[in-house]
Amino acid sequence: MTQIAPKKLPIEADSHEELLSWRRYFSFSTDHKVIGIQYIVTAFFFYLVAGIFAMIMRGELITPEPDLVDRTVYNALFTMHGTIMLFGWMFPVLAGFANYLVPIMIGARDMAFPRLNAVAFWMVPVFGIMFILSFLVPGGPAQAGWWSYPPVSVQNPTGQWLNGEFIWLLAVTISGVSSIMGAVNIVTTILRMRCPGMSWFKMPVFVWTVLAAQIIQLFGLPALTAGAVMLLCDLSFGTTFFDPSQGGNPVLFQHFFWFYSHPAVYVMILPVFGIFSEVFPVYARKPLFGYKVVAVSSLIITGLSAVVWVHHMFASGTPGWMRMLFMFSTMLISVPTGIKVFAWVGTIWGGKIRLDTPMLFALGGLINFVFSGITGIMLSSVPIDIHVNNTYFVVGHFHYVIYGAIVFGLYGGIYHWFPKMTGKMYYEGLGKLHFWLTFIGTTLNFLPMHPLGLMGMPRRVASYDPEFAFWNVLASIGAFLLGMSTVPFLINMVSSWIAGKKAGDNPWRAIGLEWLLSSPPDVENFEELPIVIAEPYGYGKSEPLTENMG
């Protein structure tokens, strides 16, 4: 696989590599860069699938009556939309970014456990295809929402043992195992594989945030996986952990679920904080403002994220003292988060700003994130949450975070590192078009969900009272626009990967180990391990980053 080939003639090497390059992506490669791209592309496929489900849902919701699909179909669609978006798109795409970037940012030749890495990746298509195939079993796929709360989730109207919920639980468990394997690998890599000189406070913030996120996976995922296995036993093997008619406790499942699934939102957003922290300095040409505080606040967020989960259960019969306690802990998270936001604003301020596509996406993501943080604080306030819990207000909140901030950040990251990953430059015009379509689509789709929730429209409904029609029509139009926005993106990525201009090693004049490598980097990344001598983000101060490279 990776024996260092004797130096070939440049032309020969080129064509040879070209030939190999696309095939590598379909093989059991152990190169972290190949795996990273495998993750990203596979995840993007599932993103499109779950996006199509969303289009059908918004088609149903464009009128108040349940007229486009049967209610069971609608329920299956929102369940699989949420599930595939999270387990098929979010976690894998972020694992992809971490895989691709962490080693080249910390000066390592590969991940700590390359084989484990490949195994973890190849589980993604397995459980992803299980989700999709579950549409074919009698009774259809799971219809209990991505929370899969019992007793609804174990009602199993078909009575068959092979049912959608069964496959769902199995697939979620596999996804959990895959993510734990990924987390072990990434955390070990960051702890053990840093190059000489790469002390904690020389690591780019992206690495800090990935570390903070993956630690969450390690302590949180076991809870979710245990919950899923127990639910599977209730569903298929006659246990009654969560069955209230047999003395079980359905609320216990909610604790298992949210003990992981709240921190999980930080698994997703933290690396995007990392992407913001990488992108802003490059396109504002200034150091990251308050680098150390930004870095450390990630770990504070990790800690706090473990003690807030009950804010998803304020209406579940939670006693008053618990409501107040978790209200306060939830609100506290906004302090380390606010530090980051202000730091990014401070970075941009007074810079030499260049609005390339990655910067546009990062800026849009930042504004959307601030908005969603504000609605988040509202939700954490118990009296307000009692009104808007389980309404479209919550749906608006988390789509602003997940789409408005996370997906924006991911798009920004893809554009930013595309030249590094492929050696080609994307088309700037298509990128800008993509940004504006996405920004307008996001606003039109998700902003109207807030008034809807405040008016009292519950989430997960296939039909609604006519008073809600106006905002729903707007949201649906926004959704279709978002669907269309992926077209210029896909055209851009495919055509520039095949026929784009050569990018050069450092098209953004960015500072960072990854930009000292060739584009795309060699199999072994670093011919000679770098010796890092400077803090990251040394803009406006011409000093070398390493002792021995470039």
Partner: protein, 301 residues
């Protein structure tokens, strides 16, 4: 800082503050009518958070927009910005201010919560009804602090049934006298449902096999909507009922009227949709839990 800078900053803050207060006032109109004591308390808290939130959002977005407009690099300008790594004073300030804001929000939320004195299922004992509710009412009415006799609420897949135990009346429409504290005992035989009346801003999950006590005080006559708020399966969206708040006299009259009627099956959206679906030869959906048969009640609209 120069005097002029300070002046500019103060002017900006005042403008943003004015806009924020205006948006905060506007926020009342985003919500349904205030039909309960609880709704007034919650709306005030919400308006306060909207005001604060608007200020922060405009502050951040404004700063970013300003930078983007005025700190752009020229086309051929390849130089870097100033090498500023941070500023300890600023960083302390923007850690401390959010912390204080959060404390403020938490205390305000806590006070509102206490005033609502929602009784969760864990607090089954009769609490003395919060006397602090009274000042929130325009005219404190004695009865409003007196818990009403129980109304039993049954939520099942997918119907709401209300029982007035003293008169032994059942109904699919929830009738409540205005300005009196309502005390519900809620049950579900199957899955978790959520009791949610947006105009009252109250919501409570109903956990199967438990009696959930729940109280609130309607203060405005009219017809409102009760919706299931915890996803309960196939016909979840159709699980709604009307809530009628009326004067004591009208309420008494309704009770008397309902008592005359002998029980008959009510219309049920889920059951009728299911029947229609079963009649079609080509089956459009997947298997579903069969809806409970339409409830047999004294009163249905």
């Amino acid at each position: 800082m120069k005097f002029k800078t300070i002046l500019t900053l103060v002017a900006i803050a005042l403008t943003l503050g004015a806009i924020s207060i205006w948006v905060g006032q506007l926020s009342y109109s985003w919500l349904p009518p205030q039909a309960s004591v609880e709704s007034q308390l919650i709306d005030n808290l919400f308006s306060f958070l909207v005001t604060l939130g608007t200020f922060i959002l405009l502050g951040v977005a404004g700063t970013v927009t300003y930078s983007v407009l005025f700190h752009r690099a020229g086309r051929y300008d390849l130089s870097d910005g100033p090498h500023i790594e941070g500023n300890v004073t600023l960083e302390v300030v923007w850690t401390a201010i959010p912390f204080l804001l959060v404390l403020w929000i938490a205390v305000y939320s806590y006070q509102t919560y206490i005033e609502m004195s929602i009784r969760g299922p864990m607090e089954m004992a009769h609490m003395p009804m919060a006397s602090s509710i009274a000042p929130a009412l325009a005219e404190p009415i004695d009865e409003s602090v007196q818990p009403m006799t129980n109304i039993e609420v049954e939520a099942k897949q997918w119907a709401w049934v209300f029982r007035y135990p003293e008169k032994n009346i059942t109904s699919t429409e929830l009738h409540l006298p205005v300005d009196r504290r309502a005390h519900l005992v809620m049950r579900s035989p199957d899955v978790i449902h959520g009791f949610y009346i947006p105009a009252f801003r109250v919501k409570q999950d109903i956990i199967p096999q438990q009696n959930i006590d729940f109280e609130f005080t309607p203060i405005r006559t009219g017809k409102y909507r009760l919706r299931d708020s915890q996803y309960s399966g196939t016909y979840f969206a159709a699980m709604q009922a009307d809530v009628v708040v009326e004067s004591m006299a009208d309420y008494e009259q309704w009770l008397a009227e309902a008592r005359q009627k002998s029980p008959s099956p009510a219309f049920n959206q889920a059951a009728s949709e299911y029947a229609a679906r079963e009649q079609k030869s080509a089956k459009a959906g997947w298997a579903t839990i069969v809806p409970a048969s339409p409830p047999i009640v004294n009163y249905h609209p």
